[in-house]
Symmetry: C2
């Protein structure tokens, strides 16, 4: 058993990881129904005009604007109604001076007409209509291509598709959108003491917590988690498992809580690639390993659930978002005061989980092994490596989960 060697600061670890992270280049077609929040991998260029034809934007009468110029509340203009156009109909009518048609919102403008008088400004009988108000040319008309013109770049490569972008695709009759693939993340639980949650716990074993928290973090940040079988503390078996998962975009090992296992992982990464760092000045989460094999990032997370989960938020989430080309997660924070004097280890950047109780931050951290240290918390306070104490009633910023 060998203890830790030199640790690197949090900022350096974060920087190192992002330096070796590559956004996914592979693309796929997503049916528009499944494209929400995906990242467009190419510009979307309009293949047609929207609207595809001149259409009425109000219910009323399609007229020649100049026929109405003299209209007023006191002097109505009378036009002959030669027909009516409903939405969705082909319109073969031809409007000439003195004529008009009834027209519905969204309906195609008849030939010759260039404006719509809204129904509220008219009065009609079967064959004629009284116009109370003049309209200018193009009034209440959406011209062909007014919204989107053929050839216009309507959505840019890299856009994260929200409902309104989906709407643009639908407007153009596009049922599939080309998007970047999601990063596929292999999650390898390790440790002799780890038992699958669907298995029977033997004496001395605990259930596999970390695979599940890591899978949830991968999902939450736009990746596809693939959980592998639990690997025992065996160097050869760890090597075999890693080699098998090199086809994934990212490999995350959880566990390796003992120094022995960490050594196996370091040895295997050294053999197959390069160790970038091993040990970070954070608490919890110190025994974190980062390496690169064939240009792929491999992360070794601490076995302790709280440490693994903190690492998941601090290192894994930004890494997956960068691979998935998602924007940084927006942080929600609240300022409040500390409920009690709290010490921290000098030289370790501490993530102190807290509950918010009556406007105070109450530490809930038990120990790195305790899942409730996270589950019972509303958020966490970061205590920098050069701070060893927060006084009672001192103001702190709580980053909310």
């Amino acid at each position: 058993m060998k203890p830790f060697k030199s640790l690197i600061p949090l900022e350096e670890a974060e920087k190192t990881i992002l330096e070796i992270t590559k956004p996914i280049k592979r693309t796929e077609e997503a049916p528009i129904e499944d494209a929400l929040n995906r990242i467009l991998s190419e510009d979307l260029v309009a293949n047609m005009d929207i609207p595809p034809f001149d259409r009425a934007s109000m219910d009323g009468y399609a007229v020649i604007a100049s026929d109405t110029f003299e209209a007023s509340r006191t002097k109505h203009i009378k036009l002959k109604v030669i027909g009516s156009v409903h939405a969705g109909e082909t319109c073969k009518l031809q409007i000439t001076k003195g004529d008009c048609t009834q027209i519905a919102t969204g309906a195609m403008m008849p030939q010759g007409a260039n404006a719509v008088v809204v129904i509220e400004e008219t009065d009609s009988d079967d064959t004629t209509v009284q116009i109370f108000k003049p309209v200018h040319p193009n009034e209440n008309v959406s011209k062909k291509g007014e919204d989107i013109r053929t050839g216009t770049k309507v959505l840019k490569k890299g856009t994260q598709l929200s409902p309104r972008h989906i709407g643009v695709g639908a407007a153009l009759g596009i049922s599939k959108l080309r998007v970047f693939e999601k990063p596929k993340v292999a999650i390898i639980p390790t440790g002799n003491e780890i038992c699958d949650i669907r298995g029977k716990l033997a004496e001395g074993q605990v259930y596999d917590i970390n695979s599940h928290t890591l899978m949830a973090i991968v999902l939450e940040n736009g990746g596809i988690p693939v959980k592998l079988d639990i690997i025992p503390d065996d160097r050869k078996k760890i090597e075999t498992a890693i080699k098998k998962t090199l086809r994934y975009d990212l490999i995350v090992l959880s566990g390796g809580s003992s120094v022995g296992e960490r050594d196996y992982l370091v040895d295997v990464i050294t053999k197959l690639g390069e160790v970038k760092f091993h040990g970070v000045q954070i608490k919890p989460g110190k025994p974190t390993i980062c390496g690169a094999i064939n240009g792929k990032v491999i992360l070794g997370m601490p076995g302790y659930p709280t440490a693994c989960l903190t690492n998941g938020y601090v290192f894994l989430a930004p890494l997956i978002r960068a691979m998935a080309r998602l924007p940084e997660k927006s942080e929600k924070t609240v300022k409040c005061i500390m409920s009690q004097r709290t010490t921290s280890t000098l030289g370790r950047h501490q993530f102190l989980t807290v509950r918010l109780v009556d406007g105070k931050a109450v530490p809930v951290f038990k120990e790195s092994g305790a899942i409730t240290s996270m589950a019972d918390a509303d958020g966490y306070v970061e205590i920098p490596a050069n701070v060893d104490m927060i006084e009672k009633d001192e103001e702190v910023e709580v980053k909310l989960f």
Copy 2:
């Protein structure tokens, strides 16, 4: 064709919708892998102790604490190493005074031992170990049930499951969690001019935008959208479609852009249930219909894409979140100044879509029919019903999409 009747204010419409909204009561089992962000429908009570046994929380030597009390850097205490315990092993060893075992993090404490001396504070040969530092009872030991005790309520009904809550389930070996079902939302596109995006556009037709933006909004807010076939402007067919969809939790009709169609919908709702409001003092989005049939909400959205989408954000999203028991969506806003003088209609609460350009809000609203009015925007400025103008350079709050 009949014009609109009296409109109700935005706030009243919002209140009316939420008053008739019922959170989903049906529950289902979700495999833990699919439970992220779901809402727990019952308290989760621990069925076992976590940890399930006393275990070492550090690598080192399992000792009887009192054997180490006299240890110091200058006066080492020598103990006999009678074995070693690895994580995941059953431990049958019995520690008596003067004995100890090597022990790994996470391993079960041997009988008789009550503390762990960390490896860094020891020096050893094959059969004995020198202890440099005393430990107190329970030091570096996680006691059985210390994290979670059998019978404790660990997660409350109504919790939205995040990675850390998933971890609690996994810790207890729970592979399925009981959660509330997601609301199933029927989306019925209507209108003779509407063509399915996978169909061939006839002259006078436009593609069905609204079903797709509404489906995305339903998904984004925790619902399951079910799109139905496009229904033509026919009262009987609209009635049949609505009757068929009464098994869903919510019915949303899009389209009905013409006054005629709106009338059909009002008539059908009146026949089958009750119209709650018809017409809201907002722009865009005025021709919105809300009704209740057999205790289910039915929403009639305007046909115009921008109006439909605004309504989707304003009315549909909060409604679905309430049904799905999700917390209100947190709004991101920025303050900036208006790029130009902008008028608004008195008596209509306007949602003015804007782009942010050099710290200024630039209106991009074209017309309610233009999907680009939304797609090109970064967010929107709300102009209350009693304000008819925003001056150039006036400060406004932009709600970001």
